[in-house]
């Protein structure tokens, strides 16, 4: 008996030490040899497995960009599909190193949930989609009083929905599911009249419905949904790496560095490009981050710049065909603005 008890105590002490000894996330990731990245269970354009089972999309590619920055190899990523409900617990508990899963940046999540957002990779807003064939004459969200609305649980969407209907003194009937696929199936089966989520998501989901052309996205945008990658609070070094990976993607686009010409541009005489690509003499930008000096080269080689990422996954090169809009570079009237890499 005593042996068993001491055995249990010993095991407990060991597990305590193991958790106390965990160093920074960067060291952990390097030791593991891959980045464990939390993504959605399947949202077209952001993170969804393709027909070969590879994860594609803006969020999935962002994971690859971070892996490229750390390892110089964008394939060293393992994806963990998470429901909206599971995502924060997975990050808090250390199951994943990075949450890149169309997650809205809010003050509550930044503070009380112990997360840090590393930037806004996609400026979104919540919208509504209806079946125009079954509901002719409805062309504004203000006509939706009395409707049954399908929504995913545990999202800011759910909260905005309640606020919007309350503010406009309208009634509605929420139909709430945990998983995106369940919401899609219920909406497609006609269990509810309206589907609400981020507008980018609505365009993606529309493609998966049985008759996409019957459905229209209503013009109203009822909320700000800045989506971005999140990391655990209290690890500034790791937060810096993720944040500057995002800025590097933006800077690369700004400077015209693409997947195709990045090797060529390493020989460029332009001091700004030299600084960003780490070809400047005695540069310490990469090593100060805890990475190699050619980290931006690795990122762009792996996934391209932000513009390429966007067009490939959600823009003109994808079935979603979403315009850059707010997600354009600041020089072109958008909100994407990276601080200087110097």
């Amino acid at each position: 008996m005593k042996y068993i008890v001491s055995g249990i105590l010993g095991a407990a002490a060991l597990s305590l030490m193991a958790s106390a000894a965990s160093a920074g996330t960067l060291e952990d990731v390097k030791a593991k040899g891959f980045l464990q990245c939390g993504v959605s269970t399947g949202l077209a354009g952001f993170s969804a497995p393709n027909d070969k089972g590879d994860w594609t999309g803006l969020d999935a590619d962002f994971c690859r960009a971070v892996a490229a920055a750390v390892f110089g190899d964008g394939t060293k990523v393992k994806f963990t599909p998470l429901s909206a409900k599971e995502r924060f617990t997975a990050l808090q508990s250390g199951e994943i190193d990075l949450l890149s899963r169309n997650t809205t940046y809010t003050i509550n999540r930044d503070t009380a949930l112990g997360l840090n957002f590393a930037g806004i990779t996609y400026y979104d807003g919540q919208g509504f989609m209806i079946n125009a064939k079954k509901l002719p004459g409805v062309n504004s969200a203000l006509q939706l009083s009395g409707a049954a609305v399908c929504v995913q649980t545990g999202t800011t969407t759910e909260l905005n929905l309640a606020d919007y209907f309350k503010a406009n003194k309208m009634e509605y009937n929420p139909v709430v599911f945990e998983k995106l696929e369940e919401v899609n199936a219920a909406y497609d089966a006609g269990r509810c009249d309206v589907y609400t989520t981020d507008q980018s998501g609505l365009y993606g989901i529309r493609l998966t419905l049985s008759s996409p052309d019957d459905h229209v996205v209503l013009p109203e945008i009822i909320s700000k949904e800045p989506l971005g990658p999140a990391v655990r609070q209290g690890d500034d070094k790791w937060n810096d790496i993720v944040r500057w990976t995002y800025y590097a993607l933006l800077t690369a686009e700004e400077l015209g560095i693409t997947q195709a010409n990045v090797d060529e541009l390493k020989a460029s005489g332009n001091p700004e490009i030299k600084r960003v690509l780490g070809t400047e003499a005695d540069t310490k930008i990469g090593t100060d981050l805890g990475l190699n000096n050619d980290w931006v080269v690795s990122i762009v080689k792996a996934v391209g710049n932000y513009g390429e990422l966007f067009e490939r996954n959600v823009g003109q090169g994808s079935p979603l065909k979403i315009a850059r809009g707010l997600n354009g570079q600041w020089t072109k009237g958008g909100l994407q603005y990276a601080p200087p890499i110097r």
């Binding site: 008890v5 808090q92 503070t111 009380a112 112990g114 309640a162 269990r191």
Partner: protein, 396 residues
């Protein structure tokens, strides 16, 4: 060791304490309790420490915050301005409602099936056997999906609702029933109902006494029905029918008005009832089989008819065998109701999950879940144990 030679049962208390089995037992048990205490303290302390380090807020203070979300189906008044506490309460009540409704229905179906499996009629016997074998061998989640996606979601849309009698409608959004609206004087009907029930109880007692004394039976059932149904009807007529019905009407999107039973509830309720009924049927069959054949033969010899034999001799004895395993099925049904989350019925687990996500208070919510389910199960067991004790063979 010198004490080894001394026999244990000699000289009360003179043997070394080290070899006293009682003392040893207490010592070892105390050691285990202390070790367990230290372990729990360690885990709790470690968790609190890590939460603090991860800057995650903890404690139950969040329960008073504004929920901000709406629920699709609530037995109590709830909107987005209500607190998280009230959201969890609504979820808890939904769990209790679906569990109670499921337990009642599963018991009725289960008893019918159990008796049906022993029927003399070949067709009834085989149908019941097939039912039991099919339903108890399918995971409950699939049964829920079967009802939700297979049966309820293929019903027509609200605009093409199926009309049922009495102004009711059936469509993919559920069943819409007329909702009774009580006007003034309606309380008299409730009073009449109460009087009817009280009088039935009285009649039943007197009838039993009379039968004990004289052997004369009395038609208690019919008199009770007449009292319980007749008196309120009489009161209804006397007060001039203070009752109107709010009928469901078609509007732009849905039917409005009336009383709506949502498909999520229906799917879960039907699935749990039908699934658990297959187990209850087997328990009932075992219970009836467990009553020795001599009992029914003796009853027949005494001149009881087959219905009376079943009601007065077989079932009371079968119940003693049936009740303990039945308790487990009730507990299973209650716990299986947490599968509601798969089809979006806002039970405690679904609502708790939403609260968990909106607040990030994982440990607190999981604690609430466990405490509530444990409490529900213990209450069910306590009730069934009481019922079992009441039904147990009274030995004289």
């Amino acid at each position: 060791m010198a004490t080894q030679d001394i026999p244990r049962d000699v000289g009360g208390g003179r043997a070394s304490l080290l070899y006293d089995p009682k003392v040893r037992g207490i010592f070892v048990q105390a050691l285990v309790v202390v070790a367990l205490g230290v372990l729990v303290y360690w885990i709790v302390g470690n968790t609190a420490e890590n939460l603090k380090r991860a800057n995650v807020a903890s404690g139950f203070g969040f329960l008073n915050g504004r929920a901000g979300f709406d629920l699709s189906d609530t037995p109590i008044q709830f909107d987005s301005d209500s607190t998280y506490r009230r959201a969890l309460l609504a979820g808890f009540l939904n769990t209790v409602i679906v569990a109670l409704a499921g337990i009642v229905t599963a018991t009725i179906i289960g008893f019918l099936l159990g008796v049906g499996r022993l029927a003399n009629n070949w067709l009834i016997r085989k149908i019941c056997t097939v039912y039991v074998e099919v339903f108890r061998n399918i995971p409950p989640l699939l049964v829920i999906f079967f009802w939700y996606f297979g049966v309820l979601s293929v019903l027509p849309l609200p605009k093409e609702s199926i009309e049922l009698p009495f102004g009711s409608f059936l469509n993919s959004r559920g069943i819409y029933l007329p909702r009774p609206v009580w006007d003034e004087g309606a309380s008299l009907i409730l009073v009449a109902l109460a009087i009817g029930i009280a009088m039935s109880v009285f009649v039943a007692r007197r009838a039993k006494q009379r039968q004990m004394a004289t052997g004369q039976p009395f038609p208690v059932l019919w008199v009770s029905i007449a009292l319980i149904v007749g008196l309120p009807l009489l009161a209804l007529a006397a007060t001039g029918f203070p009752l109107t019905f709010d009928l469901p009407k078609k509007s732009t999107f849905n039917l409005t008005g009336g009383f709506q039973i949502k498909p999520e509830f229906l799917a879960l309720y039907l699935a749990l009832s039908f699934y658990t009924a297959s187990f209850i049927a087997e328990i009932v069959r075992a219970g009836i089989k467990g009553v020795s054949r001599g009992q029914s033969e003796a009853a027949a010899a005494l001149g009881l008819r087959s219905g009376q034999t079943l009601r007065l001799v077989v079932v009371p004895q079968a119940l003693r065998i049936v009740i303990p395993p039945l308790t487990s099925q009730y507990l299973n049904l209650t716990k299986n109701s947490s599968l509601a989350i798969a089809i979006g019925y806002p039970d405690l687990v679904a609502v708790g999950g939403t609260v968990l996500n909106q607040t990030g208070q994982a440990i607190e919510i999981v604690t609430i879940w466990m405490v509530v389910y444990l409490g529900l199960s213990l209450i069910t067991s306590a009730f069934m144990n009481w019922f079992n004790a009441k039904m147990a063979l009274v030995e004289r």
